[in-house]
């Protein structure tokens, strides 16, 4: 009698191109995967399909003009990019903005964080087959984009900030519109969690998938919700507060396992904390101007004065003419901010001209994505959309 043993099935290695136009990549990403059966043995991400030379462009545009370019980087939360760039330029030049400006910036950043997280969780869900959570989130994201449209005039290319303040003040009655949406966000966040948290398929697809250890997270430079899901207690809003984040009372969401499920939980909790910050910001909103004094030569005077007085017109030309404009000191500044994806930093080097000498974006998408090939190794092919979704790669910011 011979005992029959199960022989492992011999398979050839297969090379699979995931992307650049795969619906689950949500952007032009390409991953060359080596498969053994359905298990990924090696993954090589190839990026750069959307490289548009934003950093080279920045050397020709002056400080206020470049804000329109920052919209196009992380196009899911353009307001965070606007604010981060304005903060870097203000630190370089040495401008202090008014308290009202900072509170409005906080409000806008947190609203875009909510919109970004809702879309990210929704995309992750729709890639794993849960359409309803995506629809709930996406409908609400439309309402938040309506709020952006009321304040900034556009939905996507907001360009809301200026160096030294904001393009314009929020309109009267804006707080009521915001609170109405915030109430809905709280409900929808609960709905999404009710749908997903205990869902067996969701748990099987996300738990113990793509685990990042604490040491790996630090070594790979992971930041933001991804790092906090791995147990790193680091939030720039709390640890290095900018734009008066220290005035607000909120908690930092931490999880310990570092898998896709934990990243999802951290993002959901951050939505709730952002609601808290938005409410506080509206309650404590101080009165005042939203742009520094035009006499300093950094900001444009009000349009009424430009059209109706010669002094206003002269000031306007002093700021906008090619051989005039602001004169920052020679030096450099790096300002880190907590964007929905992680540490978004702008590094500006100036040689004293009206255009920066070098503008560098520290893109959280690029640096968080660099750990991907390590995460996917040994997992199934079908886990790739889950891991990509939990990293939240935005191609515009990835390639710049």
């Amino acid at each position: 009698m011979t005992r029959v043993t199960e022989q492992p099935l011999e398979t050839d290695k297969m090379v699979l191109n995931f992307g650049p136009h795969h619906p689950a990549t949500h952007g032009t990403l390409r991953i060359i995967m080596e498969l053994e059966g359905e298990t990924v043995t090696k993954a090589t991400p190839e990026i750069g399909y959307l490289h548009s030379g934003f950093e080279k462009l920045g050397e020709d545009l002056d400080f206020n003009q470049y804000i329109t370019i920052t919209d196009r980087m992380n196009y899911l939360s353009p307001l965070c990019n606007n604010v981060a760039y304005a903060l870097a330029a203000e630190k370089l030049i040495g401008i202090e903005v008014s308290k009202r400006t900072e509170y409005i910036r906080v409000l806008m950043c947190e609203l875009s964080r909510i919109a970004d997280h809702l879309l990210n969780v929704g995309m992750l869900a729709v890639d794993l087959g849960a359409m309803t959570a995506f629809l709930y989130g996406f409908r609400l994201r439309e309402d938040i984009y309506d709020l952006f449209e009321i304040a900034t005039g556009t939905r996507l290319t907001t360009s809301y900030t200026l160096v030294g303040g904001l393009m314009r003040d929020i309109p009267e009655g804006y707080d009521k519109a915001v609170i109405k949406v915030l109430n809905e966000v709280a409900e929808v966040a609960n709905d999404i969690e009710t749908l997903l948290n205990k869902n067996r398929i969701w748990q099987n697809r996300t738990k113990n998938i793509g685990i990042i250890s604490k040491d790996d997270a630090i070594s790979y430079g992971i930041s933001g919700p991804m790092a906090r899901a791995s147990g790193i207690e680091w939030d720039i809003r709390v640890n290095e507060p900018y734009s008066r984040y220290d005035d607000f009372d909120f908690d930092v969401a931490i999880a310990l396992n570092g898998d896709v499920f934990d990243r999802y939980l951290v993002r959901m909790e951050e939505i709730r904390q952002s609601i808290k910050i938005c409410r506080q910001s509206l309650e404590k909103m101080p009165a005042g101007d939203v742009i520094v004094d035009p006499g300093l030569g950094y900001s444009l005077p009000p349009k009424d004065e430009v059209y109706n007085s010669i002094e206003g017109l002269i000031y306007h030309f002093e700021v906008t003419m090619p051989n005039r404009g602001m004169t920052p000191p020679v030096g450099e500044a790096y300002v880190p901010t907590e964007s929905p994806n992680g540490e978004l930093g702008f590094y500006i080097v100036s040689n004293g001209n009206r255009t920066p000498y070098r503008v560098r974006t520290r893109p959280p998408s690029l640096i968080n994505y660099s750990i991907f090939s390590k995460l996917i190794e040994g997992h199934m092919l079908s886990d790739a959309p889950a891991i990509i979704g939990s990293i939240n790669v935005i191609a515009g910011e990835l390639d710049r």
């Binding site: 750069g48 950093e55 790979y220």
Partner: protein
């Protein structure tokens, strides 16, 4: 340990490597020789700067500086929440310096990006190939002497000819 103490310690330890220590907008900047960057960063990592936030380069062609290129490292200490910029200077004739990929894995892609856009070589990097531009791309776009109009490089791109001729449709 406050950053100022760490910096003076580094200066004592590597007198030949440290070129200058400056401060701008309340941030410390440590200027070092490119060849000694790995030693200095290893020491700084031991001293608590455990996180490499950003790695990029600057072309000092019209700016002035110790050398033509500066590679800047933005370090962060999670413990003391302090940040430090380290700038490593390398000459135009031999644009290369040691890779710090052995200290932080995040340097892998960021050094590839600097190599792609500036042509600075990192010795000891495991896979130093272009990351943003195509592999057969010529030139280093973020250098200050690279043309901004885009005519040269566009004409250099290979033109893919369609293998099939469009046949006239016969009605």
């Amino acid at each position: 340990m406050p950053t100022a103490t760490i910096l003076s310690k580094i200066k004592e330890r590597f007198p030949g490597a440290v070129l200058d220590i400056t401060e701008f907008a309340d941030e410390h900047i440590l200027h070092v020789q490119g060849q000694d960057i790995l030693l200095v960063l290893t020491e700084l990592k031991v001293d608590g700067f455990n996180f490499l936030a950003d790695l990029t380069a600057i072309d000092n062609l019209n700016l002035g500086g110790f050398e033509r290129f500066a590679v800047s490292y933005h370090l962060l200490s999670h413990k003391t929440t302090e940040r430090l910029t380290v700038k490593a200077y390398i000459p135009e004739e031999k644009p290369s310096l040691p890779s710090v990929e052995s200290l932080w894995k995040t340097a892998d892609w960021q050094e590839r990006e600097v190599f792609d856009l500036y042509g600075i070589k990192f010795e000891g990097h495991p896979n130093l190939i272009r990351i943003m531009n195509p592999d057969d791309f010529d030139g280093y776009p973020l250098r200050k002497d690279y043309p901004r109009l885009g005519r040269k490089e566009r004409s250099d791109f290979p033109v893919i000819k369609r293998p099939f001729k469009k046949e006239k449709r016969t009605e």
